[in-house]
């Protein structure tokens, strides 16, 4: 039913479907109220743009295929200030082009969602093969200090759910949120259940409750997030990528920089317990833990099951939220298990974070692979080596 180019899909899609991660992501965005998609074609994410081009006009939304990824990201920032929940989708090379304006989104506290369907890099790399190589790009890509929120699904169902969650975090904390998918998830088909619209949580930014003459656009509430007036609300907002005070005016001095940069980081740091989502599988008595994320976590779970069949006490910690990183949970795990195995489709990006957070309290071993997902048997072999 959700096959390419079906012009007769109902406006609101619910129920059971057999579809791809890319289509599920697009449907998740629609379900949570996305009204604008600005994008540029890139493998392996293009089906998201295609599905949004098909579906958005049906729900009175707009789709624009821009001239490049720079225009795409800044176009969605503009649309959000115009009042539309907005997103774009890309892959590694496109994300690289977007990072400067993701920084603008962080600085201007603009809610929006970026889907990155990862492929192999660096550079043009492997357009049609899987990668998990943009972990650090999403954290450190743009210049300056900011705390991103990055979510990482590992099933088609979760692609839908995390697209919803990404918009809700973006609106609640006012920042661009990235969903790190990968080529396997994007192109893989499995069951998707879309709940009734009434069951889907929709978060919207706080609106100012003071008249324009009293409104300070960048004065935060206790949660460190400022209420957001948009264009046309009558507040004559000023929005700039320059360091700004609570009025939104550029003030280029140390005091303003201290206050602003600390706040846009702290609003995430201090709320990270509410943001971090983890899946724990058979960890209670585990002596060996696999720490995994994305499509690889599926193979890791298979390896844990096989290990348990052999009487090995293995368990899985799956990162659903990649950033902010769950330092405390991993540190606690390090006190419990003898080894943490980290299979990832890159050369050690998350492994290095796990080493950082475990402070040498346990063995950390990365299982790196380039351009392909791990076979459960490969992970099992490594588990067996650790016993």
């Amino acid at each position: 039913m959700m096959s390419d180019g079906n012009l007769d899909l109902p406006e609101i899609l619910t129920g059971e479907h057999f579809t791809t991660g890319n289509h599920a992501t697009a449907e998740g965005a629609l379900a949570v109220g996305c009204k604008f998609f600005g994008g540029y074609p890139i493998t392996p994410s293009s089906e998201i743009a295609e599905h949004m081009a098909l579906r958005l006009p049906r729900v009175n939304g707009h789709f624009v295929q821009f001239e490049d990824e720079l225009a795409s990201i800044i176009g969605i920032l503009g649309a959000r200030w115009g009042g539309y929940k907005s997103m774009t989708a890309t892959s590694g090379p496109g994300y690289s082009l977007m990072v400067e304006n993701i920084g603008l989104g962080m600085m201007t506290e603009t809610p929006c969602v970026i889907i990155n369907v990862q492929r192999g890099g660096p550079s043009t790399g492997l357009p049609t093969l899987v990668g998990q190589q943009d972990i650090m790009q999403t954290k450190w890509g743009a210049h300056g200090d900011f705390e991103p929120i990055v979510l990482c699904p590992s099933s088609v169902q979760e692609c839908f759910e995390l697209a919803v969650q990404a918009f809700n975090y973006a609106e609640q904390y006012r920042l661009p949120v990235t969903v790190l998918m990968d080529e396997i998830l994007g192109h893989m088909s499995e069951k998707l259940i879309i709940p009734d619209r009434s069951k889907i949580k929709r978060v919207n930014t706080k609106k100012p409750n003071v008249p324009p003459e009293e409104y300070l656009p960048y004065k935060p509430d206790k949660d460190l997030v400022p209420p957001m007036a948009i264009a046309g609300d009558g507040y004559n907002i000023m929005v700039t990528g320059l360091t700004h005070d609570e009025r939104g005016y550029p003030v280029l001095n140390v005091e303003t920089q201290e206050k602003l940069v600390r706040r846009i980081n702290d609003k995430i740091r201090k709320n990270k317990d509410k943001i971090i989502i983890l899946e724990e599988y058979m960890l209670d008595d585990a002596e060996i833990a696999i720490l995994s994320f994305g499509s690889v976590a599926r193979a890791a779970k298979g390896a844990v099951n096989r290990a348990r069949e052999k009487g090995i006490k293995a368990g899985l910690l799956r990162l659903v939220t990649i950033w902010p990183f769950p330092d405390e949970r991993i540190e606690a795990l390090a006190n419990q298990v003898k080894t943490i195995l980290v299979p990832e489709i890159n050369y050690g990006q998350i492994t290095r974070e796990v080493e950082r957070t475990t402070h040498g309290k346990t063995n950390v071993k990365g299982l790196f692979k380039m351009g392909a997902i791990h076979n459960p048997q490969e992970i099992l072999s490594e588990i067996e080596k650790c016993t």
Binding site: L7, A71, G232
Partner: protein, 288 residues
């Protein structure tokens, strides 16, 4: 001086108070720079065009001209270098009644942001783009830009610039703009008239204003004061409405051809086309 004017001056009030953001003045513009008077003209044109202030958004990129958005007391957005136009497109399509005005410089719009200008004109995005062309990068200290002319001396062309420049009205026309005009900073009355026409126009309108930059352009090109640049404009301006924009290229000591070159009616805008797609997608028989 009439008594009312004297009272106004002595009160330290400005007739356009309220249209400028409180607490943002004094501005950062150099003595002799034309950006102050252009800011003034923008406000006067907004008033004369009768636009609803709530429906106005002003967007700019980076550079001296890019700072104008932050002085205006409307919803204003100071974006990244070169990216004002796609930001403006995002804003404009969310409300067909919104008037989105992009104000930026020649380097921002036609070097780093050139492709966005080309495509926005092609799509007939419903925005007005005002480019203040001062022939160089002022804020970064006077480097050459895409509108610098052959023989112009700047910090990155110490032996004289030896590349061809963009002819902006020609570029805008070729790419599909529905309104194209050029004036010098001296032509304040005509700039205002053009701004009013552009603001009232649906679709992609473009006005180039040749601006005076004594500090980083004039100083190196025998025009070291604002009034010398304006005198140069006065001496070289040739008014030619409706001339083929191909003929409006600027060369060293050549004529500065100004006027309204393009004014097309009723071309569907990007927003019109997006709304049409909505109607088609929602029709029961989509094949029709």
């Amino acid at each position: 001086m009439v008594e009312e004017d004297r009272e106004l001056i002595e009160s330290h009030e400005h007739p356009l108070d309220g249209y400028l953001r409180e607490g943002r003045i004094p501005h950062i513009f150099c003595p002799g720079c034309s950006l102050g008077s252009i800011t003034n003209v923008i406000i006067e044109a907004i008033i004369e065009a009768g636009l609803d202030p709530k429906k106005i958004s002003v967007v700019s990129g980076i550079g001296c001209t890019g700072r104008i958005s932050g002085y205006l007391n409307y919803d204003s957005f100071h974006t990244t270098h070169g990216r004002s136009i796609p930001f403006a497109i995002g804003l404009s399509i969310t409300d067909p009644e919104r008037k989105v005005i992009v104000i930026s410089g020649d380097g921002d719009l036609f070097a780093i942001g050139a492709s966005h200008f080309i495509h926005a004109a092609r799509r007939n995005a419903d925005i007005t783009v005002i480019c203040v062309n001062n022939f160089n990068y002022g804020m970064t200290g006077g480097q050459v830009g895409p509108t610098s002319y052959m023989g112009q001396v700047q910090t990155t062309a110490p032996y004289g610039f030896n590349e061809e420049s963009f002819n902006l009205p020609h570029l805008a026309t070729t790419c599909g703009a529905v309104y194209v005009a050029r004036w010098t900073a001296l032509d304040v009355r005509r700039i205002k008239d053009s701004f009013v026409e552009a603001f009232k126009k649906k679709g992609f309108s473009f006005v180039e204003v040749l601006g005076s930059c004594p500090t980083t352009f004039g100083r190196r090109n025998q025009l070291a004061e604002g009034k010398k640049i304006l005198q140069h404009f006065a001496d070289h301006t040739v008014l030619k409405h409706d001339v083929d924009p191909k003929e409006t290229k600027i060369e060293k000591n050549g004529p500065l051809i100004v006027g309204k070159f393009v004014d097309i009616e009723d071309k569907p805008t990007l927003t019109d086309n997006l709304l049409a797609i909505q109607r088609i997608s929602q029709a029961s028989d989509k094949k029709s």
